[in-house]
């Protein structure tokens, strides 16, 4: 059978954002997929270098409109680390609240988009209607529906009043009931199961090899979550479960996200019922001492890594963002291969891609100029830490 190449994107009814896929087909089956990114590259990292630390925060927040709090928080955590600031507990609690509300809104959004991709528009409308409850809660606290701008270097900008706590708690409880309904629906509705079971399979070893992050990795049985592995803010003191699934397909991703929403509600109730008293921010100097910082944040889509370098001046010397979707794209071509063309949209949507987060500049250096393989990098890391007196050579890597 002759092979046909079908372009998908950058403008395509099935994609909400510009990304381009070249699918090589044999009949209906996808035999090869090539990915082209970068349509949304704006140059945010460079622009951050010409703004001061506070201005840069508002810019970094606009790397992504869906997980804006994730980027802003990872960035301010870097600033605070460099400044050596001790952020008050109340500020951390408020950041957790916004972060979990953001996860709820992002997962509900995803549920709607995924339902739309499998042709289940009723569920799309349902989940987006309920998402408005989260948006209302976010608006009550921050005054904004998107881009909450709650963070500021050293804490948060707005306090939460007792009435706001009550309103948000009521909304979270109402939402919990709806989420339980979605869980029933997603796990029992035959049409959903028929379109998602066995589609876009990513086995555990492939997920590890391809460095999958977030719900994609967890749905392939890799228990990886920064909130558990390297707790930041208050996550170390909170009680929540890490949801994984061994289904390894789109159904597993649906399952993981649905149950994660319940966990988010649980976290929200804990934090809202137990808000530490005290100040909401501390002062941070305009100029930071020279140094570098790296912080990780579990965004709704996975691990978000931020790097910040200061040279002692007013502006950051370098900001680098590694968004979770970039890590997940390497798995997409594997998942597409062998599946039907009709499933391409849901497979791509199942990683919850965010192109505006992903489209960062990457410098590709020719071979032999310092690029390391996975094994080289590991032995380099082991050597590096040996000098500091820590021996990692015994640690098993999956």
């Amino acid at each position: 059978m002759p092979k046909i190449t079908v372009p998908l994107g950058p403008q395509h009814p099935a994609l909400k954002e510009p990304g381009s896929f070249l699918l090589c087909l044999e009949g209906e089956q996808i035999v090869d997929a090539t990915l082209r990114l970068g349509y949304n590259h704006r140059g945010v990292e460079k622009a951050a270098e010409s703004r001061n630390y506070i201005q840069a925060m508002y810019l970094i927040e606009r790397v992504c409109g869906i997980c804006s709090h994730a980027h802003a928080t990872a960035y301010v955590m870097n600033v605070e680390e460099l400044a050596g600031a001790d952020v008050p507990k109340r500020a951390k609690a408020i950041r957790v609240i916004i972060g979990e509300l953001e996860r709820l809104h992002s997962h509900l959004l995803w549920l709607g988009v995924a339902a739309h991709e499998i042709g289940f528009d009723t569920l799309f409308m349902y989940s987006w209607r309920d998402r408005e409850m989260v948006m209302d809660a976010l608006e009550t606290i921050s005054g904004n529906r998107v881009h909450y701008s709650m963070n500021t270097p050293g804490g948060v900008r707005r306090d939460i009043t007792a009435e706001q706590v009550k309103t948000v708690l009521a909304k979270v409880e109402a939402l919990e009931r709806r989420i339980k309904y979605y869980i029933d629906l997603a796990t029992q509705e035959p049409t959903v199961i028929a379109r998602t079971k066995g589609v876009g399979v990513l086995p555990k070893d492939e997920a590890v090899k391809r460095c999958a992050a977030g719900p994609l990795a967890r749905a392939s049985g890799v228990a990886r979550d920064v909130r558990k592995d390297d707790p930041y803010l208050l996550y170390g003191e909170l009680d929540f479960k890490l949801i994984t699934s061994d289904a390894c397909d789109v159904f597993g991703r649906l399952y993981v996200r649905a149950f994660e929403m319940l966990e988010s509600c649980k976290i929200l109730k804990q934090v809202l019922n137990w808000l530490p008293e005290g100040a909401i921010s501390v002062k941070i100097p305009v100029k930071l001492p020279p140094g570098q910082a790296v912080n990780r944040y579990e965004a709704p889509r996975g691990e978000d890594v931020h790097y910040l370098k200061s040279d002692g001046g007013l502006n950051p010397a370098r900001v680098k963002v590694r968004a979770p979707t970039l890590a997940n794209f390497t798995s997409v071509d594997y998942m597409l291969k062998g599946d039907q063309l009709a499933d391409a949209a849901i497979i791509i949507a199942a990683i919850d891609p965010c192109f505006s987060c992903t489209d960062r500049a990457t410098i590709v250096t020719p071979a032999g100029t310092g690029i390391m393989s996975w094994r080289d990098m590991r032995s380099h890391g082991i050597e590096f830490y040996k000098k500091k007196g820590i021996d990692f050579s015994k640690v098993k890597v999956f």
Partner: protein
């Protein structure tokens, strides 16, 4: 005085404008608010507005985000594929003028650097209510017969 045919066409056009939404370099904030406008709480379908996937069916091109250099050619091509009469709506501060990312090296600038924009909806991102307001204003102008 318009002929009966023209009047009927103008009426039909006003009652069912189909949108094509294109993300030309936005941060997604404007996109999720655009989609939110279609969902039950805001429901722009009551004005006959529907989101469509192909430029050939669309009357209104909704551009979100500043136009990135990578998208320049693609956006122009999409615009050229839309049948006349066509209208462009710039949604969000970025699409209006470049907004927070104004002057970034990867960007061309606001949507009006490339396309004739009929309506600007400011905000970062604009609330769905603002979007509805903007589109309804555009519809009133379509009725009046000018761009």
């Amino acid at each position: 005085m318009k002929s009966i045919r023209e009047q009927v066409v103008a009426w039909a056009r006003k009652k069912s404008p189909w949108l094509l939404h294109y993300n030309s370099g936005s941060c997604n904030g404007c996109d999720i608010e655009t989609v939110a406008a279609l969902t039950p709480r805001f429901d722009v379908e009551r004005f006959g507005i529907m989101l469509h996937g192909t430029p050939r069916h669309a009357d209104v091109l909704v551009v979100t985000g500043a136009v990135s250099r990578q998208q320049e050619k693609r956006l122009l091509r999409i615009y050229n594929q839309i049948a006349e009469p066509k209208f462009v709506v710039a949604v969000g501060a970025c699409a209006c003028s470049g907004g927070v990312v104004h002057g970034c090296y990867g960007l061309l600038g606001g949507a009006d650097k490339l396309l004739p924009v009929s309506a600007y909806i400011p905000g970062c991102p604009p609330r769905p209510e603002a979007l509805i307001d903007g589109i309804v204003k555009l519809l009133t102008r379509i009725e009046g017969g000018n761009k």
